[in-house]
């Protein structure tokens, strides 16, 4: 009876007599051999006897719950801005593929460089999750001409080398053409990391 109802439903004839629990599970539990487009799964479902389909459903549901349990029990990467409350996994302890929140200096550069015409020079500083990040800019005479501060949590930058936390500070306003030295300082728990570089502006 159930097989007939299912067959009619998939053929578009009348209301299916599929149990509600099975309908919900089908949405996320592809059958063995199913393809991405779902055609093979539908065909297998139509062809399988009701008892076999029930066993398959229970098996898939069990594996789904096991997978869910594993995902929920795994250590999660702290969200930006939650660095102080969250544990600080380092090295292999961090979930594979996520940005490393450890407070250590990565790349620090300016882009675009040179910043020609109306392009806004932006300073990219990788330091994991820091309490504060600021960039000081000096002209050729060594005089400080600007100081930028990060006002929020870092963003996650993916540039082909894996996702990384990065603070990006834009230097806006009137800037004279020239080559400027920048010193980036990241602070966390009284520890300061410093990086320097140069940035050219052409207006």
């Amino acid at each position: 009876m159930a097989a007939k109802s299912a067959r009619r439903w998939f053929a578009g004839g009348g209301t299916p007599a599929v149990p509600a629990a099975l309908s919900a599970a089908l949405a996320f539990a592809p059958l063995p051999g199913a393809r991405a487009d779902g055609l093979a799964g539908d065909s297998a479902l139509v062809a399988a006897p009701a008892a076999a389909r029930a066993r398959q459903y229970l098996d898939v549901e069990r594996r789904r719950l096991e997978l869910r349990e594993r995902v929920l029990s795994a250590p999660a990467a702290p969200a930006p801005g939650e660095a102080e409350a969250a544990p600080q996994p380092t090295g292999s302890a961090r979930p594979s593929g996520g940005p490393d929140p450890a407070f250590k200096l990565g790349e620090a550069y300016c882009f675009p460089n040179p910043a020609a015409s109306g392009a806004v020079p932006t300073f990219h500083v990788e330091a994991g999750l820091a309490d504060s990040v600021r960039v000081e800019l000096y002209d050729a005479a060594g005089e400080r001409v600007a100081e930028l501060s990060a006002s929020g949590p870092p963003g996650v930058v993916e540039d082909g080398q894996g996702p990384r936390y990065a603070y990006e500070l834009r230097w806006e306003g009137p800037i004279a053409s020239g080559v400027y030295a920048f010193v980036a300082r990241a602070e966390k728990d009284g520890v300061t990391l410093t990086a320097s570089g140069r940035c050219a502006v052409v207006r």
Partner: protein, 327 residues
């Protein structure tokens, strides 16, 4: 009597000019704009740099004091090299020659003497790691600036005054972009006495010109007006002070220096400068810091003089060394 009156008139005129220039220098800026081509404001003379870039102590030359060109006792050549704290180098070569006098002045006054100077200055900013707008690496780029020109000075004017003017051509390049402009320097100096001690004063206007334009924006040059004094307080002890205001952004600089010359061939120097910068909340805020400290030493051997200056800074330490020869 006539000579005395003439001398008094020149002194009064000079003081009036000095007061006018000081007022001009102290006036609030029309707009707080950071200047471009700031390498033009860097000293190439290590003695002047160690003493806080006092115009009264700048060496005679195109990139120093054009007013001193007329007082040259002989031909003078100078080579200078600097490693800048903010990265980059500063190299200069100067040649100055006396042109002779114009005959005795009126009433037996000293003859006016003329001098000519020429030079070349290069500021190298080195190689920049290129980045595109998408953060990707691009081809490395280099940046450099050049200035070249000539100056003319006259000394022996009534009242012991000396005056000079210099014209410089300037070219800057950043990656594939370039710009050119020109600038004028002018100086006026004279003798003085402070409490019976021999002293000198100097007024200088530096880097006055139309600005540097690469693409669409014309950046003002680091035009500045400065006044400085120096006097010998005791045998082998010279004190100096100066005030300089950069006109485009109104930034001022007040410095004091000391030179100790215990022997005929060695001198030790030190100075401190405070910056007076216009701000949004406080019109002028005194910003003391280690970046205002400079020091150096010099040795003289016959017609050769070797000078060195050192200035720590937040962006790095600067070193300047130059060799001057008189022949």
């Amino acid at each position: 009597m006539d000579r005395r009156l003439e001398r008094t008139a020149w002194v009064r005129t000079s003081l009036a000019l000095g007061l006018a220039l000081s007022a001009f220098a102290a006036a609030p800026p029309a707009s707080a704009t950071e200047p471009g081509a700031v390498f033009l404001a860097l000293p190439v003379d290590a003695r002047a740099a160690a003493l806080g870039s006092n115009p009264a102590l700048a060496s005679p030359g195109l990139f120093g004091d054009p007013a001193g060109l007329g007082a040259l006792p002989g031909r003078r050549a100078m080579l200078s090299h600097g490693a800048l704290g903010a990265g980059g180098t500063l190299d200069a070569v100067e040649l100055s020659v006396p042109l002779g006098g114009s005959g005795p002045g009126r009433g037996g006054a000293a003859a006016a003497r003329w001098g000519l100077g020429a030079g070349l200055l290069r500021h190298g900013a080195g190689t920049l790691g290129g980045r595109g707008a998408d953060r990707s690496h691009t081809a490395a780029a280099s940046a450099s600036d050049f200035a070249a020109g000539a100056g003319l000075g006259v000394a022996g004017l009534p009242g012991g005054l000396a005056a000079g003017v210099a014209l410089k051509g300037i070219r800057g390049s950043i990656a594939a972009f370039g710009a050119a402009t020109w600038a004028v320097d002018a100086g006026l100096s004279g003798p003085w006495t402070i409490a019976g001690c021999p002293a000198g004063w100097s007024l200088a206007l530096r880097n006055a010109g139309p600005g540097l334009k690469f693409l669409a924006q014309r950046d003002p040059l680091p035009t500045s007006a400065a006044a400085g004094v120096s006097f010998v307080a005791a045998r082998g002890v010279m004190l100096s002070g100066a005030f300089e205001r950069r006109l485009p952004d109104g930034r001022g600089r007040l410095n004091a220096g000391i030179e100790l010359a215990p022997g005929a061939f060695l001198a030790l120097r030190g100075s401190y400068a405070g910056t007076v910068a216009p701000g949004a909340d406080a019109r002028r805020a005194f910003e003391p810091g280690v970046s205002g400290v400079a020091g150096g030493a010099g040795v003289r051997c016959g017609r050769l003089a070797l000078n060195y200056a050192f200035a720590p800074g937040a962006a790095g330490n600067s070193h300047l060394v130059n060799l001057a020869a008189q022949f």
